[in-house]
């Protein structure tokens, strides 16, 4: 492992931050050894999960892997969305179909394997919802106790899911950042492995498989632009790391994809930091947005995410909640993919950026749709009036449809 800040190196032990400067650590690989074991031609015979990139994942003992088969999700051309937005090539990386319906199954797969390698007594996470379900499900399969720290105000479906998987939800009266703080303290006192906290360097490795799969599914090529939602910023920095590793292997083109990050305007600490001269996130004390999964006021990887967006000539954007809901509907109605609001954030940023020219018409764009809309039904409860039943007769149907042509 190596500190992203001061470059101090460490053996691959359970360490979350640099002991010298307290900066974030990242896993590094012996690239010559990876090159000897991994060739793109090998992929055809590998499992249809993120473990097809085994050489790039920091798990030593295969027996530690709890395989719920996350990853290798579809990448689909979105021609209807292209027409609706008036742009060139759009592809959707559909991570709504992971085992617990969000991309969080990827990083959790790696973190739980490390927890098993190190025989940790319990695992946990601080979560805005998606991570809670992913951690609890993997812990259930691994038969490890799981503790989820989450704001008590999360919508009910997101608090229910981890409990159904057997996890213990610790409902915190406060924001995500309050839950995160107390979880850090608990991790310290009890020796549990919190996947996104004290297992974070390993956890981050799972997310970069989104970049690898995109590369593979585009015929071993990378897009011009990737639009990703920003919570803590770790997904975006993981994409950047994935690109770096492909480059070191000699498998990626010279110019990296432009990394575009998006947050709701009601909680946009990374976007505001991107726009500022010092490039440091601007923490938000009380997030105010319907996009709960991105409501992280003090993003732990925000600084690095800003650096990654700037280094790749990307940008950061913050649509409003109203635009985000329209984005969810647009994606559902054009491409048949129902995403949680984070996906609407991605779609509305693409729309805004096409309108003002931040994304060119001839750029090939991949949208990361990271969570399933069925997890956030409460967002839509006021969107449609209750349906009044009609009698089961043709006449009643004709009257109900009111003479409109219906296909």
């Amino acid at each position: 492992m190596q500190c992203r800040e001061c470059r101090t190196e460490y053996p691959p032990v359970q360490l979350a931050v640099c002991e010298s400067c307290f900066g974030p650590l990242e896993v590094r690989y012996e690239i010559d050894a990876v090159r000897a074991a991994f060739q793109s031609s090998f992929l055809a015979d590998r499992p249809h999960t993120l473990w097809r990139y085994r050489e790039f994942l920091p798990v030593f003992d295969d027996r530690a892997i709890v395989d719920l088969a996350p990853g290798y999700t579809p990448l689909r051309r979105a021609k209807n969305l292209e027409s609706a937005i008036g742009t060139g090539e759009i592809w959707i990386k559909d991570d709504t179909v992971n085992p617990t319906y969000s991309f969080k199954d990827r990083p959790v797969a790696v973190a739980i394997a490390k927890a098993r390698e190190w025989s940790l007594p319990a695992v946990g996470c601080a979560s805005t919802g998606n991570l809670a379900a992913a951690t609890a499900a993997a812990a259930a399969k691994a038969r490890i106790p799981c503790y989820v720290f989450a704001p008590a105000s999360l919508e009910p479906a997101k608090l229910l899911l981890p409990q159904l998987y057997g996890g213990i939800v610790v409902p915190i009266d406060g924001t995500y950042d309050d839950a995160n703080r107390v979880a850090l303290q608990v991790a310290d006192r009890r020796g549990w492995g919190f996947v996104n906290l004290n297992l974070r360097p390993y956890y981050a490795e799972g997310s970069k498989t989104l970049l690898f799969e995109t590369w593979e599914q585009l015929g071993f090529d990378l897009p011009d632009v990737i639009v990703a939602p920003l919570g803590s910023g770790l997904l975006l920095t993981s994409l950047e790391k994935g690109y770096r590793e492909l480059s070191e292997l000699g498998e990626a083109r010279e110019r990296p994809p432009r990394l575009v990050g998006t947050q709701p305007a009601g909680c946009a600490p990374i976007v505001r930091g991107f726009e500022s001269a010092d490039g440091r996130p601007k923490p938000v004390r009380k997030p105010d947005t319907i996009v709960e999964s991105l409501a992280i006021g003090d993003p732990g990887s925000g600084f690095e995410a800003i650096r990654s967006m700037r280094a790749t000539q990307g940008f950061a954007d913050a649509p409003t909640d109203a635009e985000i809901l329209e984005g969810v509907k647009l994606l559902a109605r054009t491409e048949g993919v129902f995403s949680e609001p984070a996906g609407g954030t991605v779609v509305s940023t693409l729309k805004r950026a096409r309108e003002d020219g931040r994304i060119d018409r001839d750029e090939r764009v991949v949208l990361l749709i990271t969570g399933n809309g069925l997890k956030t039904p409460a967002v839509w409860q006021d969107a449609a009036p209750p349906l009044a039943p009609i009698p089961p007769t043709l006449a009643a149907v004709d009257a109900y449809l009111g003479g409109r042509a219906h296909g």
Partner: protein
């Protein structure tokens, strides 16, 4: 007494001590000056930037409130305050 609780990843700055008390009241800056006399300049270098601002890798909480949302290093510290030092790790 002011109670200072240091998360283990940060405790390298306090020679491994994770919880201690000091007789103090004043500002957070003054408290860090006092702690520096106890653990040496390396404490200051690890917690503060060269220009004296809080480093971005360490979050400081005064009675559970993030010091950045209070008055930063000018945040008043009462005699019975609890100050937590945590690594800036958050979010999925």
């Amino acid at each position: 007494m002011v109670r200072i609780v240091v998360a283990s990843p940060i405790a390298a700055a306090t020679r491994g001590e994770r919880e201690f008390e000091v007789d103090f009241h004043g500002t957070l800056r003054g408290l860090f000056d006092l702690v520096t006399t106890k653990y040496g300049r390396q404490f200051q270098h690890r917690i503060l930037e060269a220009d004296g601002a809080l480093r971005r890798f360490v979050n400081v909480y005064v009675n559970g409130e993030d010091a950045r949302f209070l008055a930063g290093l000018d945040t008043p510290i009462a005699r019975d305050a609890t100050v937590d030092l945590l690594p800036a790790i958050s979010g999925g």
